[in-house]
């Protein structure tokens, strides 16, 4: 039994490949916990960041600076009455939020947090993610129809039409990135020295390894083609998850909330959870395909050698740039802890605020402690991949919140027009240009 558990630790594949059920379960539980924690953070961050962008403060009361607000919201939602409209179809009504949540979490099976940190690495991983996330449309259609009322039905129809339209443009943009995995040359235009990559692959880990082998993130590959395809995917993923500025089906009649109008309490929170999990999932696709996944910025630039005894593990590169960028998790966590201490120091000196100040200071101390733990070499090397991946996804989440507070909402016909008449032709054009450029450059290089 113990060999079963420890034998996986010596292998370098994902637990799915090793067929090790114990570690698969551990990874799945970690992903559940991580995504749930991510959704809680997103809830707080969204309210605070939108508030600050609108020159107000956001929730400040529930915990220090509103840090416990998401927990209060979750508690409120759990305690609400569970309604069902009278003539609604009971089976479909209860099944719809389950379907959306299951779909939103299933895509995390193939999301790679590191070269072997995924639950499994299917060799059709990308196809699997696109397919499973296209099943969310079913849940939305079912929810709108089962509510047996006009506004949810209209909201569901519009939402599903929008999601289906933008899936096509998403698929074309994704194909562009997949084409780039089959190139041989390194560097931005593929004219560098011959690299070891060169077989196209749909597996998520394989795509990041292709970026590592070609020494460039695909967002910069064949400039500006990689950038344009990334932008198309970024727009399509915002529309795919029904977020602003494409959230007409949700917030249309803002009095009634679209397809989840008739849901209350825990069922509504399932839709909410599924929406944020889907946001994290499509951001993971974007990060893996274009932004280099778990690779740090400048993955092949090491800088002059720096020898610090005891600092480097045997076999790892030890240049100046490595040193600076390896300290990034430390800087991030200690910085967040410092912000918490700043908040605690600036809090009002009223004795009623003491418990908030102490809570915030304790939270800051915890964050700083995590940061200091990351200095230890054993932890530091393991944490690098996961940290860079999560940092990039966090940047993408911040962009989501920024879009929501900045852009006005699209009207539905404008939304469909953009999806079919603007994004799709550009995506097809970029795909053709990438394919042509790839073939031409490889023919030139082979000659």
């Amino acid at each position: 039994m113990r060999d079963y558990i420890t034998s996986y630790l010596n292998s370098s594949g994902t637990p799915g490949e090793a067929g090790n059920i114990f570690w698969i379960t551990v990874y799945i539980l970690l992903i559940f916990a991580g995504v749930a924690a991510g959704v809680i953070c997103m809830n707080w961050l969204e309210r605070k960041i939108m508030a600050h962008m609108q020159v107000r403060l956001g929730p400040m009361r529930v915990g220090p600076h509103g840090l416990l607000q998401p927990f209060a919201d979750a508690l409120k939602l759990l305690l609400k009455e569970d309604l069902m409209p009278e003539q609604a179809d009971s089976v479909v009504y209860h099944l719809a939020p389950l379907l959306v949540v299951v779909v939103a979490f299933t895509v995390f099976i193939v999301v790679p947090f590191g070269p072997s940190h995924a639950v499994t690495d299917m060799n059709i991983g990308l196809l699997f993610m696109l397919g499973v996330s296209s099943m969310a449309v079913l849940g939305i259609v079912m929810a709108g129809w089962a509510s047996n009322s006009h506004y949810p039905l209209l909201g569901a129809l519009r939402s599903s039409a929008q999601m289906v339209s933008y899936e096509v443009a998403m698929g074309m943009a994704v194909l562009t990135a997949v084409l780039m995995t089959s190139l041989h040359g390194g560097g931005i235009y593929g004219v560098g020295g011959a690299q070891e990559s060169g077989t196209g692959t749909l597996s998520m880990i394989g795509i990041v390894q292709a970026q590592a082998g070609q020494h460039v993130w695909f967002i910069f590959k064949f400039f500006p083609l990689g950038l344009v395809s990334f932008v198309i995917f970024a727009i399509a993923m915002v529309a795919e998850t029904n977020r602003a500025p494409f959230d007409l089906p949700e917030a249309e009649s803002e009095l009634t909330a679209g397809f989840h109008t008739e849901y209350s309490g825990f069922r509504w929170s399932l839709f909410f959870l599924a929406e944020y999990a889907a946001m994290i999932a499509v951001s993971s696709i974007a990060v893996t395909l274009w932004l280099g996944g778990w690779l740090r910025p400048f993955p092949n630039w090491h800088g002059p050698q720096v020898a610090i005894p005891g600092f480097w593990q045997a076999g790892s590169s030890n240049g100046v740039v490595d040193l600076i960028l390896a300290m990034a998790p430390v800087v991030a966590f200690v910085g967040l802890g410092g912000l918490c201490f700043l908040g605690a120091w600036r809090m009002a000196k009223n004795p009623l605020f003491r418990i908030q100040m102490l809570g915030l200071a304790a939270f800051g101390a915890l964050l700083a402690l995590v940061g200091l733990i990351c200095v230890v070499p054993a932890v530091r090397d393991r944490v690098q991949d996961i940290f860079w991946f999560v940092a990039k996804v966090a940047v993408s989440m911040y962009l989501y919140i920024w879009y929501r507070s900045t852009f006005p909402r699209y009207r539905f016909d404008q939304l469909m027009k953009v999806g079919w008449k603007v994004l799709l032709p550009i995506a097809i054009g970029v795909l053709l240009a990438t394919a042509t450029l790839g073939v031409v450059i490889q023919a030139v290089m082979a000659a």
Partner: protein, 169 residues
């Protein structure tokens, strides 16, 4: 990816597929039938994975479940379901239909019993890691004409569906 616990998963997925099939043909409400069909399609996608066909499984999920069933659900929602609930489920000649189907089933059973010896002894060496690449070689190599004709067929179907379903002003 070596398959794990094949008999358990086969019987589970086969049971789900057959259950879904039975529910499709017996439910009064078309929406329930559509959901049962989705269950069948997903179970079949799992069985394709067991048969070393990951690309077809992915295509099944994207196209069938994420495309065709959404289309079915849209149309069911636009067509009046309330009337269907109150009417008879089966038509007048259901007995003949069932008898004919069972006769067909007997034919299948006899074909399998007689032809079982014709299966080759060894399995084809299907490399699973490069399944997508091998299928692509076939699609763009041997079956290129069929591929182009399929895309033309989809264009014709798209135009036909739009023409059939649009409002005549």
């Amino acid at each position: 990816m070596t398959p794990v616990a094949t008999p358990f998963f086969f019987y589970l997925l086969a049971g789900l597929a057959l259950l879904g099939g039975v529910l499709v043909i017996t439910r009064r409400n078309p929406v329930h039938s559509a959901l049962a069909l989705i269950l069948t399609l997903l179970a079949l996608a799992g069985i394709y994975l067991m048969l070393y066909a990951p690309f077809v499984a992915g295509v099944q999920i994207i196209l069938y479940v994420g495309g065709i069933m959404v289309l079915f659900l849209f149309v069911i929602m636009l067509v009046d379901v309330g009337r269907a609930e109150k009417e008879a489920r089966f038509n007048k000649q259901w007995v003949v239909g069932v008898v004919a189907s069972l006769a067909l089933g007997m034919l299948f059973v006899s074909a399998y019993v007689k032809g079982k010896a014709l299966f080759p002894e060894r399995l084809a060496r299907l490399a699973e890691e490069s399944n997508t690449q091998e299928i692509a070689k076939f699609l763009y190599g041997d079956y290129l004409l069929a591929f182009e004709v399929a895309s033309l067929l989809l264009l014709v179907a798209m135009i036909g569906a739009v023409v059939m379903a649009k409002k005549r002003v």
